[in-house]
Protein backbone atom coordinates (compact mmCIF):
# COMPACT_ATOMS: atom_id res chain seq x y z
CA UNK A 1 0.00 0.00 0.00
CA UNK A 2 1.54 3.24 -1.23
CA UNK A 3 0.13 6.72 -1.28
CA UNK A 4 -0.48 7.81 -4.85
CA UNK A 5 -2.57 10.11 -7.00
CA UNK A 6 -5.65 8.85 -8.81
CA UNK A 7 -5.92 10.72 -12.09
CA UNK A 8 -9.19 10.59 -14.00
CA UNK A 9 -9.21 11.97 -17.51
CA UNK A 10 -12.41 12.34 -19.51
CA UNK A 11 -11.91 12.98 -23.21
CA UNK A 12 -13.73 12.14 -26.37
CA UNK A 13 -13.13 8.85 -28.13
CA UNK A 14 -11.14 10.35 -30.97
CA UNK A 15 -8.35 11.23 -28.56
CA UNK A 16 -7.74 7.74 -27.14
CA UNK A 17 -4.64 6.93 -29.18
CA UNK A 18 -3.18 10.38 -28.72
CA UNK A 19 -3.72 10.24 -24.98
CA UNK A 20 -2.22 6.76 -24.77
CA UNK A 21 0.95 7.98 -26.43
CA UNK A 22 1.02 11.05 -24.22
CA UNK A 23 0.72 9.00 -21.04
CA UNK A 24 3.49 6.65 -22.09
CA UNK A 25 5.73 9.62 -22.88
CA UNK A 26 4.93 11.19 -19.51
CA UNK A 27 6.06 8.04 -17.71
CA UNK A 28 2.58 6.79 -16.80
CA UNK A 29 1.95 4.02 -19.31
CA UNK A 30 -0.51 2.09 -17.15
CA UNK A 31 -4.18 2.97 -17.07
CA UNK A 32 -7.70 1.62 -17.10
CA UNK A 33 -10.05 2.75 -19.83
CA UNK A 34 -13.85 2.90 -19.69
CA UNK A 35 -15.46 3.28 -23.09
CA UNK A 36 -18.89 4.45 -24.28
CA UNK A 37 -19.49 7.21 -21.74
CA UNK A 38 -21.82 10.10 -22.36
CA UNK A 39 -21.99 13.45 -20.66
CA UNK A 40 -22.80 17.11 -20.68
CA UNK A 41 -20.40 20.03 -20.91
CA UNK A 42 -19.74 23.27 -22.67
CA UNK A 43 -20.36 21.57 -25.99
CA UNK A 44 -23.78 20.40 -24.86
CA UNK A 45 -25.25 16.98 -24.48
CA UNK A 46 -23.14 14.03 -25.63
CA UNK A 47 -24.68 10.61 -26.17
CA UNK A 48 -22.72 7.39 -26.12
CA UNK A 49 -25.23 5.84 -28.53
CA UNK A 50 -24.91 7.90 -31.65
CA UNK A 51 -24.02 6.55 -35.08
CA UNK A 52 -21.22 9.04 -35.23
CA UNK A 53 -18.50 8.22 -32.75
CA UNK A 54 -17.42 11.81 -32.26
CA UNK A 55 -20.19 12.06 -29.72
CA UNK A 56 -18.76 9.56 -27.29
CA UNK A 57 -16.61 10.16 -24.22
CA UNK A 58 -14.27 7.79 -22.45
CA UNK A 59 -12.71 7.74 -19.00
CA UNK A 60 -9.04 7.04 -18.29
CA UNK A 61 -8.17 6.08 -14.71
CA UNK A 62 -4.52 6.17 -13.66
CA UNK A 63 -2.79 5.45 -10.38
CA UNK A 64 0.49 7.34 -10.33
CA UNK A 65 2.99 7.42 -7.47
CA UNK A 66 5.62 10.00 -8.40
CA UNK A 67 4.55 13.63 -8.14
CA UNK A 68 6.64 14.67 -11.11
CA UNK A 69 4.87 12.12 -13.30
CA UNK A 70 1.51 13.44 -12.08
CA UNK A 71 2.62 16.92 -13.03
CA UNK A 72 3.80 15.75 -16.43
CA UNK A 73 0.47 14.05 -17.12
CA UNK A 74 -1.56 17.06 -16.03
CA UNK A 75 0.59 19.43 -18.07
CA UNK A 76 0.39 17.09 -21.03
CA UNK A 77 -3.37 16.75 -21.09
CA UNK A 78 -4.05 20.43 -20.50
CA UNK A 79 -3.63 21.47 -24.16
CA UNK A 80 -5.68 18.49 -25.32
CA UNK A 81 -8.49 19.46 -22.98
CA UNK A 82 -8.25 23.03 -24.17
CA UNK A 83 -8.42 22.08 -27.82
CA UNK A 84 -11.00 19.31 -27.79
CA UNK A 85 -12.70 19.69 -24.41
CA UNK A 86 -12.84 17.32 -21.49
CA UNK A 87 -11.90 17.13 -17.83
CA UNK A 88 -9.03 15.93 -15.64
CA UNK A 89 -9.46 15.23 -11.92
CA UNK A 90 -6.67 14.38 -9.49
CA UNK A 91 -7.41 12.77 -6.12
CA UNK A 92 -5.29 11.54 -3.21
CA UNK A 93 -5.46 7.76 -2.90
CA UNK A 94 -3.76 4.70 -1.50
CA UNK A 95 -2.69 2.08 -3.97
CA UNK A 96 -2.48 -1.70 -3.66
CA UNK A 97 -1.08 -2.98 -6.93
CA UNK A 98 -0.26 -6.32 -8.51
Amino acid sequence: MHPCKRIEIIVERSQIDRLGRLLAAAGAPDYTLIHHAGGHGDRGHRRADDVTDTDENCVFILAVEQDEVVAAVVEGVKPILQRVGGTCLVTEAVWTGS
Binding site: S14, R47, V51, V84
Partner: protein, 336 residues
Protein backbone atom coordinates in the same frame (compact mmCIF):
# COMPACT_ATOMS: atom_id res chain seq x y z
CA UNK B 1 -43.21 10.58 -62.75
CA UNK B 2 -45.05 11.96 -59.82
CA UNK B 3 -46.05 8.30 -59.39
CA UNK B 4 -42.48 7.25 -58.66
CA UNK B 5 -42.09 10.27 -56.43
CA UNK B 6 -45.03 9.17 -54.34
CA UNK B 7 -43.85 5.55 -54.43
CA UNK B 8 -40.56 6.66 -52.90
CA UNK B 9 -42.33 8.56 -50.15
CA UNK B 10 -44.16 5.39 -49.09
CA UNK B 11 -41.30 2.93 -49.49
CA UNK B 12 -40.60 1.04 -46.26
CA UNK B 13 -37.06 2.41 -45.71
CA UNK B 14 -38.22 6.00 -46.03
CA UNK B 15 -41.22 5.45 -43.79
CA UNK B 16 -39.00 3.92 -41.12
CA UNK B 17 -36.77 6.97 -41.37
CA UNK B 18 -39.83 9.16 -40.80
CA UNK B 19 -40.90 6.93 -37.91
CA UNK B 20 -37.51 7.63 -36.31
CA UNK B 21 -37.92 11.36 -36.82
CA UNK B 22 -41.43 11.35 -35.41
CA UNK B 23 -40.55 9.16 -32.43
CA UNK B 24 -37.87 11.59 -31.31
CA UNK B 25 -40.01 14.66 -31.91
CA UNK B 26 -42.81 13.08 -29.87
CA UNK B 27 -40.18 12.47 -27.16
CA UNK B 28 -40.60 8.70 -27.25
CA UNK B 29 -37.76 6.75 -25.66
CA UNK B 30 -37.41 4.50 -28.72
CA UNK B 31 -33.71 3.76 -29.10
CA UNK B 32 -31.51 1.56 -31.27
CA UNK B 33 -28.48 0.64 -29.14
CA UNK B 34 -25.20 1.68 -30.68
CA UNK B 35 -23.83 -1.86 -31.23
CA UNK B 36 -27.01 -2.76 -33.13
CA UNK B 37 -26.61 0.25 -35.40
CA UNK B 38 -22.95 -0.69 -35.89
CA UNK B 39 -23.89 -4.24 -36.80
CA UNK B 40 -26.43 -3.06 -39.37
CA UNK B 41 -23.95 -0.58 -40.79
CA UNK B 42 -21.26 -3.29 -41.12
CA UNK B 43 -23.82 -5.46 -42.88
CA UNK B 44 -24.85 -2.73 -45.32
CA UNK B 45 -21.27 -1.80 -46.24
CA UNK B 46 -20.27 -5.44 -46.69
CA UNK B 47 -23.37 -6.24 -48.74
CA UNK B 48 -23.21 -3.21 -51.01
CA UNK B 49 -19.47 -3.76 -51.49
CA UNK B 50 -19.88 -7.42 -52.36
CA UNK B 51 -22.79 -6.76 -54.70
CA UNK B 52 -20.83 -4.00 -56.42
CA UNK B 53 -17.85 -6.30 -56.82
CA UNK B 54 -19.91 -9.08 -58.36
CA UNK B 55 -21.56 -6.59 -60.71
CA UNK B 56 -18.14 -5.28 -61.68
CA UNK B 57 -16.87 -8.79 -62.38
CA UNK B 58 -19.71 -9.34 -64.83
CA UNK B 59 -19.25 -6.22 -66.90
CA UNK B 60 -15.94 -5.82 -68.72
CA UNK B 61 -13.66 -3.10 -67.41
CA UNK B 62 -14.63 -0.32 -69.78
CA UNK B 63 -14.18 3.35 -70.50
CA UNK B 64 -17.48 3.88 -68.65
CA UNK B 65 -15.93 2.59 -65.48
CA UNK B 66 -12.88 4.80 -65.83
CA UNK B 67 -15.01 7.82 -66.61
CA UNK B 68 -17.16 7.24 -63.54
CA UNK B 69 -14.19 6.80 -61.22
CA UNK B 70 -12.55 9.87 -62.72
CA UNK B 71 -15.70 11.94 -62.29
CA UNK B 72 -16.02 10.76 -58.70
CA UNK B 73 -12.45 11.72 -57.83
CA UNK B 74 -12.79 15.05 -59.57
CA UNK B 75 -15.92 15.80 -57.54
CA UNK B 76 -14.29 14.77 -54.29
CA UNK B 77 -11.34 17.08 -54.94
CA UNK B 78 -13.13 20.03 -56.49
CA UNK B 79 -16.25 20.29 -54.34
CA UNK B 80 -14.38 21.09 -51.10
CA UNK B 81 -12.42 23.85 -52.86
CA UNK B 82 -15.40 25.80 -54.13
CA UNK B 83 -17.45 25.10 -51.03
CA UNK B 84 -14.61 26.46 -48.89
CA UNK B 85 -14.31 29.69 -50.81
CA UNK B 86 -18.06 30.08 -51.12
CA UNK B 87 -18.78 29.84 -47.40
CA UNK B 88 -15.62 31.30 -45.88
CA UNK B 89 -17.26 34.70 -45.56
CA UNK B 90 -19.84 33.26 -43.14
CA UNK B 91 -17.73 30.69 -41.28
CA UNK B 92 -14.29 31.04 -39.72
CA UNK B 93 -11.42 29.18 -41.37
CA UNK B 94 -11.60 25.98 -39.32
CA UNK B 95 -15.37 25.63 -39.61
CA UNK B 96 -15.28 26.43 -43.31
CA UNK B 97 -12.62 23.80 -43.92
CA UNK B 98 -14.56 21.19 -41.98
CA UNK B 99 -17.81 21.96 -43.80
CA UNK B 100 -15.96 21.81 -47.11
CA UNK B 101 -14.52 18.39 -46.27
CA UNK B 102 -17.88 17.15 -45.07
CA UNK B 103 -19.69 18.09 -48.27
CA UNK B 104 -16.86 16.93 -50.51
CA UNK B 105 -17.07 13.48 -48.98
CA UNK B 106 -20.12 11.22 -49.12
CA UNK B 107 -22.71 9.40 -47.02
CA UNK B 108 -22.72 5.66 -47.65
CA UNK B 109 -26.27 5.26 -46.39
CA UNK B 110 -27.59 7.94 -48.71
CA UNK B 111 -25.89 6.08 -51.54
CA UNK B 112 -27.34 2.75 -50.42
CA UNK B 113 -30.80 4.28 -50.18
CA UNK B 114 -30.42 5.58 -53.73
CA UNK B 115 -29.44 2.12 -55.01
CA UNK B 116 -32.49 0.70 -53.28
CA UNK B 117 -34.60 3.40 -54.89
CA UNK B 118 -33.25 2.41 -58.31
CA UNK B 119 -33.63 -1.31 -57.62
CA UNK B 120 -37.24 -0.89 -56.58
CA UNK B 121 -37.94 0.96 -59.85
CA UNK B 122 -36.05 -1.67 -61.82
CA UNK B 123 -33.50 0.85 -63.13
CA UNK B 124 -29.99 -0.56 -63.75
CA UNK B 125 -26.86 0.94 -62.22
CA UNK B 126 -23.18 0.08 -62.50
CA UNK B 127 -21.43 -1.88 -59.76
CA UNK B 128 -18.38 0.33 -60.16
CA UNK B 129 -20.28 3.12 -58.43
CA UNK B 130 -19.65 1.30 -55.20
CA UNK B 131 -15.95 1.73 -55.86
CA UNK B 132 -16.57 5.35 -56.79
CA UNK B 133 -18.34 5.90 -53.51
CA UNK B 134 -15.51 4.35 -51.50
CA UNK B 135 -12.96 6.45 -53.41
CA UNK B 136 -14.88 9.62 -52.58
CA UNK B 137 -14.81 9.20 -48.79
CA UNK B 138 -11.25 10.32 -48.16
CA UNK B 139 -9.87 12.91 -50.62
CA UNK B 140 -12.07 15.73 -49.35
CA UNK B 141 -10.52 15.34 -45.90
CA UNK B 142 -7.05 15.99 -47.26
CA UNK B 143 -8.20 18.87 -49.45
CA UNK B 144 -10.13 20.48 -46.61
CA UNK B 145 -7.19 20.33 -44.25
CA UNK B 146 -4.81 21.64 -46.89
CA UNK B 147 -7.06 24.64 -47.45
CA UNK B 148 -7.22 25.31 -43.73
CA UNK B 149 -3.48 25.10 -43.18
CA UNK B 150 -2.78 27.31 -46.17
CA UNK B 151 -5.16 29.94 -44.88
CA UNK B 152 -4.13 29.68 -41.25
CA UNK B 153 -0.42 29.76 -41.92
CA UNK B 154 1.84 26.88 -41.12
CA UNK B 155 2.20 25.93 -37.49
CA UNK B 156 -0.86 27.55 -36.02
CA UNK B 157 -2.38 24.22 -35.37
CA UNK B 158 0.84 22.86 -33.81
CA UNK B 159 -0.25 23.52 -30.29
CA UNK B 160 2.06 25.28 -27.95
CA UNK B 161 2.22 23.31 -24.74
CA UNK B 162 3.16 20.04 -26.29
CA UNK B 163 0.12 18.71 -28.14
CA UNK B 164 1.61 16.75 -30.95
CA UNK B 165 0.50 17.88 -34.35
CA UNK B 166 -1.33 15.31 -36.43
CA UNK B 167 1.34 14.07 -38.79
CA UNK B 168 0.63 13.72 -42.48
CA UNK B 169 0.94 9.94 -42.36
CA UNK B 170 -1.46 9.78 -39.43
CA UNK B 171 -3.87 11.90 -41.36
CA UNK B 172 -3.67 9.96 -44.61
CA UNK B 173 -4.16 6.75 -42.67
CA UNK B 174 -7.17 8.20 -40.90
CA UNK B 175 -8.57 9.32 -44.24
CA UNK B 176 -7.81 6.41 -46.54
CA UNK B 177 -7.79 3.52 -44.08
CA UNK B 178 -10.95 4.54 -42.34
CA UNK B 179 -12.85 1.40 -41.33
CA UNK B 180 -15.77 1.95 -43.68
CA UNK B 181 -13.53 2.61 -46.68
CA UNK B 182 -11.58 -0.58 -46.00
CA UNK B 183 -14.73 -2.63 -45.51
CA UNK B 184 -16.40 -1.42 -48.72
CA UNK B 185 -13.30 -1.72 -50.88
CA UNK B 186 -12.39 -5.09 -49.35
CA UNK B 187 -15.87 -6.48 -49.91
CA UNK B 188 -15.87 -5.08 -53.43
CA UNK B 189 -12.61 -6.86 -54.16
CA UNK B 190 -13.87 -10.10 -52.65
CA UNK B 191 -17.08 -9.85 -54.67
CA UNK B 192 -15.07 -9.12 -57.78
CA UNK B 193 -12.76 -12.12 -57.25
CA UNK B 194 -15.69 -14.44 -56.54
CA UNK B 195 -18.07 -13.21 -59.22
CA UNK B 196 -21.37 -14.96 -59.87
CA UNK B 197 -20.32 -18.13 -58.01
CA UNK B 198 -19.71 -16.15 -54.87
CA UNK B 199 -23.06 -14.45 -55.26
CA UNK B 200 -24.79 -17.83 -55.40
CA UNK B 201 -23.29 -18.59 -52.02
CA UNK B 202 -23.90 -15.21 -50.42
CA UNK B 203 -27.14 -14.02 -52.04
CA UNK B 204 -29.32 -15.19 -49.11
CA UNK B 205 -27.13 -13.01 -46.91
CA UNK B 206 -26.30 -9.92 -48.96
CA UNK B 207 -29.54 -9.70 -50.93
CA UNK B 208 -32.51 -11.23 -49.11
CA UNK B 209 -32.51 -9.22 -45.87
CA UNK B 210 -30.99 -6.07 -47.43
CA UNK B 211 -34.12 -3.89 -47.53
CA UNK B 212 -35.04 -4.87 -43.99
CA UNK B 213 -31.60 -3.98 -42.69
CA UNK B 214 -31.81 -0.66 -44.50
CA UNK B 215 -35.15 -0.04 -42.76
CA UNK B 216 -33.59 -0.57 -39.34
CA UNK B 217 -30.63 1.62 -40.14
CA UNK B 218 -32.80 4.43 -41.44
CA UNK B 219 -35.02 4.13 -38.38
CA UNK B 220 -31.92 4.77 -36.28
CA UNK B 221 -30.79 7.60 -38.56
CA UNK B 222 -34.20 9.19 -38.12
CA UNK B 223 -33.84 9.05 -34.36
CA UNK B 224 -30.34 10.51 -34.51
CA UNK B 225 -31.10 13.23 -37.05
CA UNK B 226 -34.12 14.39 -35.08
CA UNK B 227 -32.09 14.55 -31.85
CA UNK B 228 -29.58 16.76 -33.62
CA UNK B 229 -32.34 18.94 -34.98
CA UNK B 230 -33.65 19.37 -31.47
CA UNK B 231 -30.20 20.25 -30.16
CA UNK B 232 -29.97 22.74 -32.99
CA UNK B 233 -33.16 24.46 -31.89
CA UNK B 234 -31.89 24.55 -28.34
CA UNK B 235 -28.55 25.97 -29.48
CA UNK B 236 -30.22 28.68 -31.54
CA UNK B 237 -31.03 30.56 -28.37
CA UNK B 238 -27.37 30.67 -27.29
CA UNK B 239 -24.94 32.99 -29.00
CA UNK B 240 -22.92 31.11 -31.57
CA UNK B 241 -20.21 31.94 -34.07
CA UNK B 242 -22.45 30.98 -36.98
CA UNK B 243 -26.10 32.02 -37.00
CA UNK B 244 -28.61 29.22 -37.27
CA UNK B 245 -30.01 30.52 -40.53
CA UNK B 246 -26.59 30.33 -42.24
CA UNK B 247 -26.16 26.77 -41.04
CA UNK B 248 -29.56 25.60 -42.24
CA UNK B 249 -29.35 27.70 -45.38
CA UNK B 250 -26.06 26.18 -46.49
CA UNK B 251 -27.15 22.70 -45.41
CA UNK B 252 -29.98 23.04 -47.93
CA UNK B 253 -28.05 24.94 -50.59
CA UNK B 254 -24.88 22.87 -50.70
CA UNK B 255 -26.48 19.52 -51.58
CA UNK B 256 -28.56 21.23 -54.28
CA UNK B 257 -25.48 22.90 -55.70
CA UNK B 258 -23.07 19.97 -55.41
CA UNK B 259 -25.69 17.59 -56.73
CA UNK B 260 -26.22 19.84 -59.73
CA UNK B 261 -22.49 19.99 -60.45
CA UNK B 262 -22.33 16.21 -60.23
CA UNK B 263 -25.35 15.91 -62.49
CA UNK B 264 -23.70 18.15 -65.05
CA UNK B 265 -20.62 15.92 -64.96
CA UNK B 266 -22.82 12.87 -65.39
CA UNK B 267 -24.54 14.38 -68.40
CA UNK B 268 -21.20 15.38 -69.93
CA UNK B 269 -19.93 11.83 -69.40
CA UNK B 270 -23.09 10.48 -71.03
CA UNK B 271 -24.02 8.30 -68.10
CA UNK B 272 -27.13 6.13 -68.00
CA UNK B 273 -30.17 7.14 -65.93
CA UNK B 274 -29.20 5.02 -62.90
CA UNK B 275 -25.52 5.93 -62.97
CA UNK B 276 -26.31 9.62 -63.33
CA UNK B 277 -28.55 9.53 -60.27
CA UNK B 278 -25.88 7.79 -58.21
CA UNK B 279 -23.15 10.27 -59.15
CA UNK B 280 -25.54 13.13 -58.40
CA UNK B 281 -26.40 11.73 -55.01
CA UNK B 282 -22.74 11.15 -54.18
CA UNK B 283 -22.14 14.79 -54.97
CA UNK B 284 -25.13 15.97 -52.96
CA UNK B 285 -24.50 13.85 -49.89
CA UNK B 286 -22.28 14.82 -46.97
CA UNK B 287 -20.22 12.66 -44.63
CA UNK B 288 -21.21 12.25 -40.98
CA UNK B 289 -18.85 9.44 -40.04
CA UNK B 290 -15.44 9.42 -41.75
CA UNK B 291 -14.96 13.17 -42.03
CA UNK B 292 -15.98 14.14 -38.49
CA UNK B 293 -13.72 11.41 -37.11
CA UNK B 294 -10.78 12.83 -39.05
CA UNK B 295 -11.67 16.43 -38.18
CA UNK B 296 -11.77 15.77 -34.45
CA UNK B 297 -8.23 14.50 -34.75
CA UNK B 298 -6.70 16.94 -37.14
CA UNK B 299 -8.85 20.05 -36.85
CA UNK B 300 -10.35 20.17 -33.36
CA UNK B 301 -10.77 23.92 -33.68
CA UNK B 302 -13.70 23.28 -35.99
CA UNK B 303 -16.98 22.96 -34.16
CA UNK B 304 -18.79 19.65 -34.81
CA UNK B 305 -21.94 21.41 -33.66
CA UNK B 306 -21.71 23.14 -37.05
CA UNK B 307 -20.42 20.72 -39.69
CA UNK B 308 -21.79 17.52 -38.19
CA UNK B 309 -25.18 19.02 -37.45
CA UNK B 310 -25.50 20.43 -40.95
CA UNK B 311 -24.68 17.05 -42.51
CA UNK B 312 -26.69 14.88 -40.18
CA UNK B 313 -29.70 16.92 -39.17
CA UNK B 314 -30.47 18.76 -42.39
CA UNK B 315 -28.68 17.46 -45.47
CA UNK B 316 -29.14 13.77 -44.75
CA UNK B 317 -32.94 13.85 -44.28
CA UNK B 318 -33.25 16.25 -47.20
CA UNK B 319 -31.39 13.93 -49.56
CA UNK B 320 -33.23 10.83 -48.37
CA UNK B 321 -36.70 12.31 -48.56
CA UNK B 322 -36.53 14.84 -51.38
CA UNK B 323 -33.09 14.75 -52.97
CA UNK B 324 -33.25 11.30 -54.50
CA UNK B 325 -36.67 11.57 -56.19
CA UNK B 326 -36.20 15.21 -57.19
CA UNK B 327 -32.82 14.67 -58.83
CA UNK B 328 -34.31 11.62 -60.52
CA UNK B 329 -37.12 13.76 -61.90
CA UNK B 330 -34.60 16.26 -63.26
CA UNK B 331 -32.58 13.47 -64.86
CA UNK B 332 -35.70 12.11 -66.51
CA UNK B 333 -36.61 15.56 -67.78
CA UNK B 334 -33.12 16.08 -69.20
CA UNK B 335 -33.20 12.63 -70.81
CA UNK B 336 -36.41 13.40 -72.66
Amino acid sequence: MSGTFFANLTSPPLLFFCLGLLATFARSDLDIPNPVAKAVSIYLLLAIGFKGGVALSESPFSVDVLLALGAALLLAAAVPVFVYFMISRWFDAADAAAVAATYGSISAVTFVTATHYLDSLGIAWGGHFVAAMALMEAPAIVVGLYLYRRSAGKGTEAGAGGVEETTLSELLREAFLNGSVVLILGSLLIGWVNGKDGMDQLAPFVKAPFVGMLCIFLLDMGLVAARRLRDLQAASSQEQSVPLTSMVGFAVLLPALNGSVALLLAVLAGMSEGDALLLTILGASASYIAVPAAMRLALPAANPGIYLTMALAVTFPLNIILGIPLFHLIIQIIAN
